[in-house]
């Protein structure tokens, strides 16, 4: 049976509909995906993302282990800062993308849903192979993760803490009390809006925090948000969903995550992606905005003049733009900005244009 969030009963009371995602039964929506989506863009929304994983990486060589197993040089990440990165296999393909937080003498890593034991196992094996004194512990079940996202997220949290929320820098992280409950806060998110994420343990204390945040956000018209809107929000900002964009094994260069690679250090998979970088001839992630009516979906083919040039990894109707949008892996010769390609939806070609990310710009809410 699918695992449930410790907050399951609260979600039920709030009228959530549920879906199974990576072995977890989580809210997909409470009111409507569109409504929840626009609430996050314009006001503030509260997500339970406890399906995500929590690992502690500890001991003397914790920093070295992260540098070895991710594309980031962890020595660059100061205490109180967090970083988005990926773990690679030797062949350069991505095992998972993740955020790690540098919290004094240890690191918390947040792999994706269902990835906790894979990543924990990988880290511990690599520590042993490379004689590093470091250890990864899967503590996912001890934590509830909440995300507070939207222009009013800071104002909402400020009502529940004595710490000046503005001192939490972008991608900063720290221990904090929210509604008198111990949390780790980070200025991070998956929506492209101002936002924060909270790691809360023991998990049972999260009920109280969740309710307090909903109360504090009432004056800003806060709403609970499900995984449905989480997906449309991230897609409008061109953020990767591991299960979709890494399906079948993709490298950071293919997934347009080259900007996250710190080339000045040694890491597992570096040789393979250096070689790929030199060769250059590989399909890579491309952002497509539909001109014709139609909603691209995962695994739709992409064609140019009837010739197969790519495949959609994620697609949806953008609630902000009311247009079909897609991320697709497209052959390098056909992905220049403004190129017109066909997305094949149920055997019909739907015209789409290659655009620069993100689909929805930063000032969208101010102008709409």
């Amino acid at each position: 049976m699918a695992q449930r969030s410790p907050l399951h009963e609260i979600h039920k009371e709030l009228g959530a509909k549920f879906t199974e995602f990576a072995g977890f039964e989580m809210p997909i929506q409470y009111s409507s995906i569109k409504d929840e989506h626009l609430t996050v863009r314009k006001k503030v929304g509260l997500f339970d993302v406890s399906h995500m994983s929590n690992l502690w990486i500890t001991a003397r060589d914790a920093e070295k282990l992260i540098s070895l197993t991710t594309v980031e040089d962890a020595s660059r990440i100061a205490n109180g800062m967090s970083q988005y990165t990926e773990l690679l296999r030797e062949d350069g393909t991505i095992i998972d993308d993740t955020i790690f937080m540098h919290l004094e003498d240890k690191y918390m890593m947040i792999p994706n849903a269902g990835m906790a034991s894979t990543v924990t196992g990988w880290l511990n094996v690599k520590a042993e192979e490379h004689d590093l004194c470091a250890k990864a512990d899967n503590v996912s079940k001890d934590y509830v993760i909440l995300a507070i996202q939207g222009p009013k997220s800071g104002d909402t949290l400020q009502k529940l803490t004595d710490v000046d929320i503005k001192t939490v820098k972008f991608f900063g992280c720290m221990y904090i009390k929210i509604a008198n409950t111990d949390c780790i806060i980070s200025h991070t998110g998956y929506t492209g809006e101002l936002g924060y994420e909270l790691q809360i343990t023991p998990a049972k204390t999260a009920n109280h925090v969740f309710k307090k945040i909903l109360d504090a956000g009432k004056e800003f018209e806060i709403k609970p948000i499900g995984l449905g809107a989480r997906d449309t929000l991230r897609l409008e900002k061109c953020f990767i969903l591991a299960g979709n964009e890494f399906e079948g094994g993709k490298t950071p260069l293919e997934a347009l995550l080259g900007w996250t690679v710190n080339w000045d250090h040694e890491f597992i998979g570096k040789k393979a992606i250096l070689k790929q970088k030199e060769q250059g001839d590989f399909k890579r992630l491309t952002y497509l905005e539909c001109i014709d009516k139609g909603i691209p979906r995962h695994s739709c083919k992409v064609e140019k003049d009837g010739k197969d040039v790519g495949v959609v990894s994620s697609g949806t109707l953008s609630p902000c733009l009311s247009k079909g949008i897609a991320m697709a892996y497209v052959h390098p010769d056909f992905r220049e900005k403004d190129s017109i390609l066909d997305i094949i939806i149920r055997n019909n070609p739907v015209k789409a244009k290659v655009v620069k990310p993100p689909f929805v710009k930063k000032d969208w809410a101010e102008n709409n």
Binding site: S32, D231, K293, T316, L317, P319
Partner: protein, 126 residues
Amino acid sequence: MGEEIREGLKYTETHEWLKVEGNKAKVGITDHAQSELTDIVFVELPAIGKEIKKGEELCIVESVKSVSEIYAPVSGKILKVNEKLEDAPETVNQDPYNDGWLIEMEIADKKELDKLLDAESYRKCI
């Protein structure tokens, strides 16, 4: 949960409704179906004149997250489609039994109607 089931219509277990008038029928999806789908954002309608068999795919209704096939409740020929849905697919959510109708078809074999559910039996089925 306050979902409307209209008397006088025929229903299927797959949540389509039929309003029969002579040898013609209007077809749509039920209030229950639209409420489960929520946020209908795209409707793909069949070509007028198309002959379709009972149980075959009649049209496609897409919500933000999902693609749902709507099946022909009876066999027949497509006479009209609700073109208004091309620009206003949300009408299916707002008014599933009136303005949110999908297609009108000619019924090939009226005996097929006997196998459909009445309001009472459909109520038991959801």
